[in-house]
């Protein structure tokens, strides 16, 4: 094998142009967002990639494709405003049912949340199939259990959820302004990061 093997020459000096070209190629090559660690793993030199990524993002601003960051994961995506011209390339998106979308939204805003809590908000039972659908789409996943009797599984959203809905982070979720004042979704202000739910619930 005569190809240069990446990751084997930690001593070579960092060529900033090459570095930028490799990172650019990696982002373009991948259909999925890449974390900085994943990008780093492909580089022949140990250098921080954050600045390179941010430079590239600035570079592509205003072009037909843009470099996006979602919670530390980076991807190239077509600019939203040219989407109408890409109609033929668009996926005939299987439209999700209202039940699935509501369930997804509740998980997004209230995570980590149990199925019972979702049902309480929706006023109807959540079928197993609805959650399965969201898990299959890669948008939600179970994480931990709530420390209450029965120790029910709690659900959270995934990075793919952010990517799909063009959200830089969970903080980027549409605000529910008219309701935050009413204290209905106060829990959203500071998303709990353990499986522990809002104690005042």
């Amino acid at each position: 094998m005569t190809e240069p093997s990446p990751g084997q020459s930690p001593v070579q000096p960092v060529d900033p142009v090459l570095l930028r070209r490799i990172v650019e190629a990696l982002l373009f090559a991948s259909a999925e967002p890449l974390s900085e660690a994943e990008i780093q793993a492909h580089l022949p030199m140990a250098v921080p990639v954050g600045p390179v990524l941010r430079d590239l993002r600035t570079d592509y601003a205003g072009r037909g494709v843009q470099i996006e960051e979602q919670s530390g994961r980076w991807a190239v995506r077509t600019a939203p405003d040219v989407a109408p011209f890409l109609e033929r390339l668009q996926e005939r998106s299987k439209s999700l049912s209202a039940a699935a979308l509501e369930t997804l939204a509740i998980i997004a805003y209230r995570q980590p949340v149990t199925r019972a809590e979702i049902e309480q908000i929706r006023g109807v039972s959540v079928s197993r199939g609805t959650l399965d659908l969201l898990v299959d789409a890669g948008w939600v996943r179970p994480r931990g259990r709530k420390p209450v009797p029965g120790r029910p599984v709690t659900w959270v959203t995934t990075p793919a959820f952010l990517d799909h809905f063009d959200l830089a982070s969970l903080d980027d979720l549409p605000r529910l302004e008219e309701l935050t004042g009413a204290g209905l979704f106060d829990a959203l202000a500071e998303p709990a990061d353990g499986a522990d739910d809002d104690p005042k619930d």
Binding site: L89, S93, A99, F165, D166, F185
Partner: protein
Amino acid sequence: MTDALDLVPEDVDEDALVVAVEGFSGPLDVLLVLARKQKVDLTKISVLTLVEQYMAFLDEALRRRLDLAADYLVTASWLAYLKSRLLLPAEEEPEAEEALALAEALTERLQRLEAIRGAVVQLRARARLGVGRLARGAPEGPTTATVDVVAGTLPELLRAYARAAGRSKVRRLRMERRPEVVPIDVARDALRAAVTDRSRWQRLEDALPSPLRRPTVARSGVASGFAAALELARTAEIEVRQSGTFQPLYLRAR
């Protein structure tokens, strides 16, 4: 399940609403749509009016023999209870207060569901992947190729050497065949058979039969013969005589 939001515009009339009952995801959904018909902020809806609206909806649905799930009826009876409490004079505490709390809780649930519905609408409108934003159509990677790399640890190496070297050492350590020995009882029996004459002294070596004098066993034969001779002398079967140190040993019967 269809989207109740699309199915039931806010200014739908009661009939259309009832016909659309299959489009509702449950009583709470129906209550929310009815509340919206009041065309006020959800925080300001009249719960009493809402109860009446719901009862009218239910009556109409039943009149048309629509197949309603049981929870629609459960909700109806709960709402009827709530209404009766709300109609109590304000002095009738604590029941009236309790009713107000229940009404408030109902309003909050409606608001919460409304908020989620609003979030769904907003999420749908975002530049979704595959629709509003496209990923690379012909992904090229990145890929991860696994390459087998042999690895070993020093302990493994040392153990291997000890094993190999140890094996060769065993092989080179040529074990000598165990020397043949003449058991004492064999020598004793041989001497008993050979030394039978009282009148004649004979040398120990001569008294031993030739099989015990083969070169491979000669020394052992002499040693065992000597021990056997001493034993036979002790039991007074033979006499032993030696003229001096290192001189031949002579035997004769007694």
